[in-house]
Symmetry: C2
Subunit: 205 residues, 2 copies
DNA sequence: GTCTATAAGTAGATAGAC
DNA sequence: GTCTATCTACTTATAGAC
């Protein structure tokens, strides 16, 4: 009876660090969200892909919103780390590093930016999740505005912000339409405008 | 017994032209789709808003996909009519007419472009609906490419197409992010870049 | 922590009366 | 054409054993 419970606990504690089912859930949830959208995947989809029963998913994330919050927070932290890793580079190389994940996503053929997808689902989300989405774009656009000012010293803070907002809109829109038209190179072609807008030109490959 | 059936038919035939519940359904479905997304509204939502029972909605549109197809086709026809009505104007005024619905949508505060929303739901749609979405963007972008060539005769067809694709991505992305940030003027600010990209400048108001 | 079992509600869709 | 009534499947979520 209770001896099994004890064994289970020992097992769980011993392997919790390595098996990390929480990360497995988030990994598959990320793909499902970025492919279909927040309202077009279910716990069943998640359970089938991870091999984890839906009740266990609820143990790690009590509600579906909790899954969404964890995903966008991780996405934002990934961005923050990327931006930090780019800081030693010259500005044009920083920008190339910034767009790289967008280009990679376009080439998956069926995914979109996680934050862009949640932005499209905005009105069906609870306030907590909406706030996380706004924070992601605030981070990205403030950073882009700083890069624009570094490249174009004549630019005032307001103009740099407009520039950054247009650049971000261009990336999100290009990714969305590249997916709908099954044309990943559409994203590549949009980059010329992105770099021109920021005040430089794409690195020649 | 059958007398009631006959009366009902007479009533239906008499008022079918004026009451037009099919149009009512589409009108509310359009708002729901553009606000929440295709997977975030149901027949129940539609029934509550129109006052039409869900079984009657199924009479007009056997499946939910049929509602979506009717919506995007109407949306595309509205665009086609708009483009036709703009043809007598000088190109810069045509472009102003083209962006007007986007600006208006941004100022609703909670809607997005119908085609943009379906593009975001792309992977959860059936092929018929996907094809309709692609046709919408083909129409818009080919027209934009023609306008770009009219304003910039030096531009080749390929460059004009790239230009048109970037312009469309900018509009869709700006609308998406204006909504998420509750900042309709973000759309207005993006228009400077839109017009510059097309080879002109926005009309001064 | 993970499972089986199940709840309570909603999804899109249909049958048949009138 | 529109309704009431109903269906089957699926949704998110919980209870309780181990």
């Amino acid at each position: 009876m209770t001896i099994y419970l004890v064994i289970d606990i020992i097992f769980a504690v011993t392997f919790s660090a390595t098996s990390n089912r929480r990360a497995d859930i988030l990994e598959h949830a990320s793909i499902l969200l970025r492919t279909r959208g927040f309202n077009a995947f279910s716990h069943r989809d998640l359970a089938e892909r991870t091999g984890i029963k839906s009740s266990s998913i609820h143990y790690h994330f009590p509600t579906k919103q909790d899954v969404g919050v964890a995903l966008i927070r991780q996405y934002r932290e990934d961005l923050a780390q990327l931006l930090q890793s780019l800081s030693p580079l010259p500005v044009p190389e920083r920008l190339a590093g910034f767009v790289a994940p967008f280009v990679a996503t376009a080439h998956t053929g069926d995914q979109w930016c996680l934050a862009g997808m949640l932005a499209s689902d905005y009105n069906s989300l609870d306030e907590l999740l909406r706030d996380e989405v706004r924070q992601f774009f605030d981070l990205a656009e403030h950073w882009l505005a700083d890069q624009a000012m570094a490249l174009q010293p004549a630019l005032g803070p307001d103009d740099a912000q407009v520039c950054a907002q247009s650049a971000m809109a261009l990336l999100e829109g290009s990714l969305l339409l590249a997916r709908a038209q099954q044309d990943a190179r559409r994203m590549d072609r949009a980059l010329n405008l992105f770099f021109a807008l920021m005040g430089t030109s794409p690195a020649k490959t």
